[in-house]
């Protein structure tokens, strides 16, 4: 407890005169066709962009993915898109998802400038590990949920408290070995993003 | 009445590269400036200041103000010395009206020609392939040009003065504004890195086909020339004033 008091006291003593907190009112980039720009951004981050008119088409698109057709263990948290080959609710420990090959998850908003999708923890079911432990990730987003930049994304996000949420942009990657870009580090090796509508 | 300009010739230019001082003088006179060279000048104090020795730099800063305070404008063929006066004298002397006056009226040569004199025409020729070395103080302190790090519309006052010369070919470097490695006492205190930096610049210019390397700071050029000569490289090194002194500016 006294550590806390010491630190806060030291910080207060050291504080400079107050400076204002700016409101970002700057002109942020805008896209003529945000959905199209979002899809381009997804491709740029080594994701696989797909655009479909409705949920049924999304289902067909997901089932048509090579990663899906090859998979035995799949999980879908998006009703009507793909299917779960296991009952996620009855999985006891997140480690038990270790062999999961494809996870289908929905998110909103989706950010055009960088291909990121916000996934609130409440959409991941019992084990949030599902989105990172699966070999392949499929993100389903609605076209109306596409925003231009992160500023607008934060305007829309309601942070669940207590809770968890994550922006995911493309498959996991690293360039730690001689700056050579390698797709697939510890998270998903591929990330298909299906924009519906 | 044309403003009277005090010509500041940095110590190492005065002693080792007087031709750069003369070229600067010729250019200023050619555009109609009334120029004086106050004889009592010596050094702006930058080497001391950059070594952290503020006490040793302060008297020189005071000298500079008292010598050049009488002029309407002060012009120097040196981005680093001008940056010292404009931006760093304040750290030595605090906020003072006499400092503010002199600092705001002290310019690097190309800066003065473009921003103050408004030179828009350069008639002359220089039929060579030229690599422009963008010295760091001039670039990132005086903003003689847009640095490659910043995002915005490109501009470069030195290039602006060179580009119209007939026959000149400004080569494109791989690293447009990487530091040459002089850095004052850095050149000797960190000799290895300094020389590797300089050699890398020379290699860049060579690869781009430069026959002449130019820039607005003699210190950088001195370092690059020293390395080039020691290695027997054929590239010539010339201060921008030497390239412009034969031209007609208006």
């Amino acid at each position: 407890m006294s550590g806390r008091d010491d630190i806060l006291r030291a910080l207060r003593r050291a504080a400079p005169p107050p400076l204002p907190l700016p409101e970002w009112s700057g002109r942020a980039m805008r896209f003529d066709d945000p959905v199209s720009s979002f899809l381009k951004s997804v491709a740029a981050v080594a994701g696989t962009p797909l655009r479909v008119p409705d949920l049924a088409a999304a289902d067909a698109a997901v089932r048509g993915l090579e990663t899906w057709t090859r998979a035995r263990l799949t999980a879908s948290l998006v009703p009507g898109v793909g299917r779960s080959s296991l009952d996620l609710d009855s999985v006891g420990a997140p480690q038990d998802l270790r062999d999961l090959e494809v996870a289908v998850v929905s998110g909103a908003p989706a950010v055009a400038e960088n291909g990121a999708v916000w996934i609130p923890g409440s959409r991941l079911g019992r084990h949030r590990a599902v989105f990172v432990i699966a070999e392949h990730l499929v993100l389903v987003v609605k076209a109306e949920d596409v925003v231009h930049t992160m500023h607008q994304a934060y305007d829309r996000i309601r942070l669940e408290r207590p809770g968890w949420g994550c922006f995911v942009s493309g498959p996991s990657k690293t360039a730690d070995i001689e700056q050579a870009l390698v797709i697939g580090a510890h998270g998903a090796r591929s990330c298909a993003v299906v924009v519906v509508g | 009445m044309a403003p009277t300009i005090g010509l500041f010739v940095p110590c190492y230019v005065d002693q080792l590269y007087p031709e750069v001082g003369w070229a600067s003088l010729r250019i200023l006179r050619q555009v109609g400036a009334e120029v004086e060279f106050p004889r009592e000048q010596t050094c702006c104090g930058q080497p001391m200041a950059n070594s952290g020795c503020a006490a040793e730099a302060r008297p020189l800063a005071e000298r500079f103000l008292s010598i050049f305070g009488r002029y309407d404008q002060v012009v120097a063929p040196s981005g680093s010395c001008v940056a010292m006066v404009r931006h760093h004298y304040r750290e030595l002397l605090g906020d003072r009206p006499d400092l503010e006056r002199v600092a705001s009226r002290t310019f690097e040569l190309c800066q003065w020609l473009v921003d103050v004199r408004g030179v828009s025409r350069v008639e002359g020729e220089f039929r060579r392939k030229v690599g422009l070395h963008k010295s760091c103080h001039g670039l990132r302190e005086l903003r003689l040009g847009k640095s490659s790090e910043t995002v915005g519309a490109p501009y470069d006052k030195v290039q602006q003065l060179l580009a119209p010369l007939r026959g000149i070919e400004l080569v494109e470097l791989a690293r447009a504004d990487e530091c040459c490695g002089f850095g004052g006492t850095f050149a000797v205190a960190e000799e290895a890195v300094s020389c590797m930096m300089g050699r890398d610049r020379l290699a860049d210019h060579e690869k781009a086909g430069a026959e002449v390397i130019t820039g607005a700071d003699v210190s950088c050029l001195m370092h690059l020339q020293g390395l080039a000569r020691r290695e027997g490289r054929r590239v010539e090194v010339m201060h921008v004033a030497r390239i412009l002194e034969g031209a007609r500016l208006s």
Binding site: V132, P162 | S147, C179
Partner: protein
């Protein structure tokens, strides 16, 4: 041996000379850093409002620093409401003890850790290992240097000083990969399998904190590899370590900060994962350890306070022509490069008196910094600080005193100039001795003109006088 070993503090020039002497390695390291810088340029250049974003990021951080205690209290209040336990550590020793205490309280013997320069600074790994806790660094670069038994040499790309051949050889020894395997994709695959076992068997996950949100009581951790997420979604216990300066006022401020972070680090528009933790896993626990360790002292310094704005993007390292050619180890500090030089010198000016001089003051760092820290000016200001404390080497001080004396007298100055020119013309060998040697070893000396500018001016003036009727 070929990578150069970490050196004790205070030896930058010497260590850098050794680094430069291995030309192949030095050029490769330089090219690696420049590659990151080029990618950064492309990323930044794709945002027309980039400079306005930098200004906003700078202002958010500056404002926060002016109210740090308030924001930390707000953060703690809200974090507690989320079920997060908040601890406070005055220094590295307290931090280590707290983290260990949490782990020991749960009987944890195996921990996975994602990148945290703070834990490097506090020496957490050896502390835990000495107490029987296995710590696996899970960022690929960090795992590589961990297996090599060396510290990271870059804050974002920890193994930038190592070749794929060296990593292949390491993986063969420690992970059983085939001899001669150097392909980065296959090496990464091997690391994925190896680290996956560690994630699955981990009993706790330690992470750093990129941003702590005061308004909502959450912490944000950013990675490309997903290692922080694997490490915090599998084991039930999460310990997040943060410096006091990591707090930001509101979630919406991330709109600015996340837009500049990844672009500055690697040029990507954003990192792959930006995870916002607002509570523990169901049935688990989450702890945040807030650490001072000298930061309040830096906050008190007008000239250096802004260095606390650093968001650890690494852009200043990548752009620094000196860092690229001397390697991280030459700095003898946890964080190398421009920001590391400022922070280390602040922490221990005596030990790191060399670092503010390990710079040509080119200013490139300041121009890339996403939060507009005036890095090169802070380095210059620190030189004055060192001089004031008597920590500038005697030789340099005496030289400057002598030079200053000479420069204060036009007559002495002219005399000295004439003498120097004479020597350059007639006896340049004399100038190659002593201090001149450091110039003349690799560079030709300037020629000594017969007359200085002022001598020529005097002649012209007297000739004109003489020419007047």
């Amino acid at each position: 041996m070929s990578a150069g070993l970490p050196v004790p503090p205070g030896q930058h020039a010497r260590a850098a000379a050794r680094f430069v002497a291995n030309e192949v390695r030095a050029h490769r390291h330089d090219a690696a850093g420049w590659h990151l810088r080029s990618n950064r340029d492309r990323g930044a250049g794709s945002v027309p409002e980039w400079e306005a974003l930098r200004e906003a990021a700078s202002a958010i951080k500056a404002h926060t620093l002016s109210r740090l205690a308030d924001y930390l209290e707000e953060f703690e209040r809200n974090a507690r409401q989320n079920g997060i336990q908040v601890h406070w550590a005055r220094d590295g020793a307290e931090h280590n003890a707290i983290v260990h205490g949490i782990l020991a309280g749960h009987g944890v013997a195996r921990v996975v850790k994602s990148k945290s320069m703070l834990t490097e600074e506090c020496g957490l790994n050896p502390y835990l290992e000495a107490r029987g806790v296995e710590v696996t660094d899970t960022d690929l670069g960090e795992r590589i240097v961990q297996l090599l038994g060396e510290p990271p040499s870059h804050i974002v790309v920890p193994a930038i000083h190592r070749t794929k051949e060296e990593i292949g050889e390491l993986f063969q020894r420690r992970l059983g990969t085939p001899a001669g395997l150097t392909d980065p994709t296959r090496l990464t695959e091997a690391a994925r399998h190896h680290l996956r076992q560690k994630f699955l068997s981990a009993q706790a996950g330690i992470t750093g904190v990129n941003f702590a949100i005061a308004e909502t009581g959450g912490v944000v951790v950013v990675t490309n590899e997903g290692n922080a997420d694997m490490g915090t979604s599998l084991p039930p216990l999460h310990v997040a370590c943060m410096g006091v300066e990591k707090v930001i006022p509101r979630a919406r401020d991330l709109g600015v900060l996340l837009r500049v972070l990844a672009r500055s680090a690697t040029g990507q528009p954003c990192s792959v994962y930006a995870t916002h933790f607002h509570g523990p896993l169901r049935g688990g626990e989450m702890h945040v350890v807030v650490v001072d360790n000298g930061r309040s002292a830096i906050l008190a310094r007008d000239a250096f306070r802004r260095s606390l704005s650093c968001i650890r993007c690494g852009a200043c390292l990548n752009t620094c022509p000196v860092y690229r050619r001397s390697g991280g180890y030459s700095y003898g500090a946890t964080i190398p490069g421009p920001i590391g030089s400022v922070l280390s010198a602040l922490r221990d000016p005596r030990a790191h008196a060399d670092l503010p001089f390990a710079s040509s003051l080119c200013g490139s760092c300041s121009d890339v910094c996403p939060v507009r820290i005036d890095l090169h000016h802070e380095l210059l200001a620190f030189r004055r600080e060192l001089s004031g404390r008597g920590l500038v080497p005697l030789g340099k001080r005496l030289t400057m005193k002598l030079l200053s004396l000479v420069m204060r007298s036009p007559r002495l100055y002219a005399l000295a100039g004439r003498a120097a020119r004479f020597l350059l013309r007639r006896a340049p060998w004399a100038l190659r001795l002593g201090p001149g040697a450091a110039w003349a070893r690799q560079r030709a000396l300037p020629s000594g003109p017969a007359a200085s500018f002022r001598e020529l001016w005097d002649r012209q003036a007297s000739a004109e006088k003489g020419g007047l009727p």
